[in-house]
Amino acid sequence: MKFLCVDCDEQMTFYERKEPGDGTFAAGFVCPTCGRKVALLANPMESRLVGALGVKIGGRTLDAQPMEATRSSMVGRDDAFVDETAARPGRGPVRWSPGGVERLSKVPNFVRGMVKRIYNEWASEHGITEITPEVMDKARTDLGLEGM
């Protein structure tokens, strides 16, 4: 999809994505000429349709994890997957606060390993050494980790 600033007849540029955790989705676009901003606001069904394609408006911040769409959408058995991945080497160590661990424990086991890895990588890329619930909120907004 493209957003057109009608006054300037210029394609607008993506600048921000938000997933507030209520099933909705928002994406902000700005005109590079006049600076006018618009926000696309999608309801849960519309958000689900886009998410079901395995894509994110504005592009991805991190590469898709293996079977990311399936693992995050399907209601599966707890022991279906064994996640043997780790945060990419060369990045700083990341630890989890007790609050972060508790929040993570609420994520379904089917997908928990994948979600933990995503948080670890996001934290490493942002120079964060401890993952707290606040850090998880920020990462979730940035990456669109709805419900996680």
Binding site: K2, M45, V55, I57, A69, S73
Partner: protein, 281 residues
């Protein structure tokens, strides 16, 4: 006020949705580069033994091919192939993909049967409203990930065990551009013939080569007393072969207690494997 429309606005799509979809397709193509042949196994109706035939072919082909054989169970809602091949999880997630399960004869397998709790239907997370709208997209996404994200490795043959009916055919050609062809499974009845014919026409319209027909449950054969006879009226295998001018590769009788993945070299199954490998060479 008038404004330009999508194709009138030049420049890349800054939502980057299409580029991500293209990247998904490219990922599938890269993963299948090391697969010699991808063959779909199709039927018109459920219960004709399509998965039985897929499992038997996989084990038989694995004995002949040195490079390996895989089965992707594309019947997401009613998966059976993993069980027929004695394959089980958990599936190991690595940096660059998910390891498939390994079944009899070393056949590599991926199926929703490995992901779902016993007896539980395929379900997706909320929202529940208008679920029928996005469920198909999610299932197509899982099929895509089974192709692109599973570490199939080098294979001589990857069988795609499709759900019954014509619906899965169109999804397939959108994902796998280099399909070697389709094997059709029917039973003798006229009802199956009519249903399978629709599936075959869908495949032809999608440009998928039809490799041949297998008539399963062509009769019954008792392994103990040697009694045999017909199970169904009809000659669907021969009829479809003549109508579509493609070979009837084998007629396989129903033998109580037979296990397609046992590796036993029963005559009709072995003959089917021989003919199938001949047509895909």
């Amino acid at each position: 006020m008038s404004f330009r429309t999508y194709n009138e606005v030049s420049g890349e799509d800054r939502s980057r949705l299409m580029s991500q979809v293209v990247a998904q397709r490219e990922r599938v193509a890269r993963r299948l580069e090391s697969v010699g042949r991808v063959v779909a196994v199709m039927s018109g109706k459920g219960g004709v033994g399509k998965s039985y035939v897929s499992a038997a072919l996989a084990v038989g082909a694995a004995r002949r091919f040195t490079g390996g054989v895989g089965v992707l169970d594309a019947d997401l809602r009613s998966p059976t192939v993993a069980r027929l091949l004695d394959a089980s999880g958990p599936l190991r997630v690595r940096e660059d993909g998910v390891e498939p399960a390994t079944g009899r004869g070393g056949v590599r397998v991926v199926s929703t049967d490995l992901l779902l709790d016993e007896g539980q239907p395929l379900r997706w997370r909320e929202p529940a409203m208008e679920r029928f709208v996005w469920r198909g997209v999610l299932e197509a996404g899982t099929l895509r990930e089974f192709l692109s994200d599973v570490l199939w490795g080098p294979l001589d043959l990857l069988l795609l065990d499709l759900p019954p009916g014509a619906d899965g055919v169109a999804d397939l050609t959108a994902l796998v551009s280099d399909l070697a062809g389709a094997l059709i499974v029917t039973i003798p009845s006229d009802e199956s013939r009519r249903s399978v014919a629709r599936t075959m026409r869908s495949a032809m319209e999608a440009g998928i080569p039809l490799l041949g027909i297998v008539e399963n449950m062509s009769g019954y054969s008792c392994g103990e007393c040697a009694a045999s006879g017909r199970l169904f009226d009809g000659t669907a295998g021969v009829d479809l072969s003549e109508e579509f001018d493609i070979p009837l590769l084998a007629t396989v009788p129903f033998t109580p207690g037979s296990n397609p993945a046992s590796g036993e070299r029963a005559g009709p199954i072995e003959a089917l494997v021989d003919e199938f490998l001949r047509v895909i060479q």
